[in-house]
């Protein structure tokens, strides 16, 4: 290993904005998001990729930011919970979570909302079984799953209605 601390220059899109950073290869995405950009929505909890509280979207797909190297988002698009609302208007997924009271302590909520965002982008009309399968890796320690699934299905049903 080299004696000097190795660094890498990366450039990526963060919530729609072009950004650049100099990182150590070992730096984790969650730390870069939280410490350098002040985006505290992604939560470090299990720290082993199981709980989903640190979920962000990379190129639109869910990623475990606590166990992903920051340098691997070079050239890619990162979306955090802070990037969902626009001009003071909540994203429809956030709105559905509010309408259905789909949160208790709120710790899992950012990751949960982003996972739902990715689910609906991939499958706009999931069945309840498909929704549960997709969200299997996002744990709610308050066990408030019923309201979360209700919120997801309200969006699926909305989209089921004929245009």
């Amino acid at each position: 290993m080299s004696d000097e601390i190795p660094v890498l220059d990366i450039a990526f899109r963060l919530n729609g904005e072009a950004v650049a950073a100099r990182v150590e290869p070992r730096e984790l995405l969650i730390d870069v998001l939280r410490e350098r950009y002040g985006l505290r929505g992604a939560k470090r909890s299990c720290d082993i990729g199981v709980c989903g509280a640190c979920t962000v979207l990379v190129d639109g797909l869910p990623a475990t930011s606590c166990s992903m190297l920051a340098c691997d988002v070079d050239g890619r698009e990162v979306t955090t919970i802070e990037g969902l609302a626009h001009d003071g208007r909540l994203d429809p997924v956030q709105q559905a979570f509010v309408a259905h009271g789909a949160m208790q302590c709120g710790y899992c909520t950012p990751g949960m909302v982003l996972a739902v965002k990715a689910l609906l982008a991939d499958n706009p009309r999931p069945t309840e079984e498909e929704a549960r399968h997709y969200l299997r890796g996002n744990l709610c320690r308050c066990t408030g799953y019923v309201k979360i699934i209700e919120a997801v299905m309200s969006l699926a049903h909305t989209r089921r209605e004929p245009a």
Binding site: R26, E27, L28, G49, G52, L61, A63, T64, A115
Partner: protein, 289 residues
Amino acid sequence: MLPPRFDLHRPRSLDEAVALLARHGEEASPYAGGTELLIALKARVARFAHLVDLKGIAELRGVRAREDGGVDIGALATHHQLARDPLVRERLPGYAELSGNIANVRVRVAGTLGGNLCFAEPHADPPAMLCAYGARVQLRGAQGARVLALEEFLQGELTTARADDELLVRIEVPGLPRGARACYRAFGHLERPAVGVAALALPEGKGYRWRLRAGGLCGRPTALAAAERTMAGLEPAAALEALARTVEADAGALEAHDDLQGSADYKRYLVTVLARRAVRGALGLGEKA
């Protein structure tokens, strides 16, 4: 937690990657999805001064049709890609289904099949089914290339035949005879399977010749050999009876130990249940009966 400091190398070709691995020996690890490696580095159960990032190597990508009707899978293919790949869904529908059920969506998006096999964590879904299919792995190292049966490549818990300077390049899944069918069934309370059983049915006589592999509870996928022998060539109903008579003895002979996934006895029991479900699934029968 931050992993310990390492140098990150980003080779653009297989030759360059192999040269890096040869130069740094056991100080280096190949790195792709990171779903296993980064967790191990953070926990300090593994330590490498050099990571060789394989994601920029085009030769490790792609899923291609084989002339024998099978599929060649580049080591960098992710579980998410394999679950959706049209060729995999057409030729290996049971494997596409397995890929879509691995761990959680984040692991499927980042995790690669090559990494899964090289890490050789027993509590994993792909090995049992790929062993039932008779899959082979192409390796490339400083000394040249070789092809091994996956069942020889996987040697035990976290142990493979891969040398420090070798890379798993491609997984060859050979074509199956017309009428062959496969099914994998797994169960676990955690994200990883406590037990998984793969059943491959190859037409023979009035029924099938069976390849049954149990994984998860033992260090590497293991054949349910007595069941395979007694079921061979029998019509479906008779094959299921033969399975019921023999699978307990097969399960009892499996290496298993008590862990978070359950007691050894419980996991051996799961083998009997999941073997029945996988065989019924391969036969196109309802699985609960």
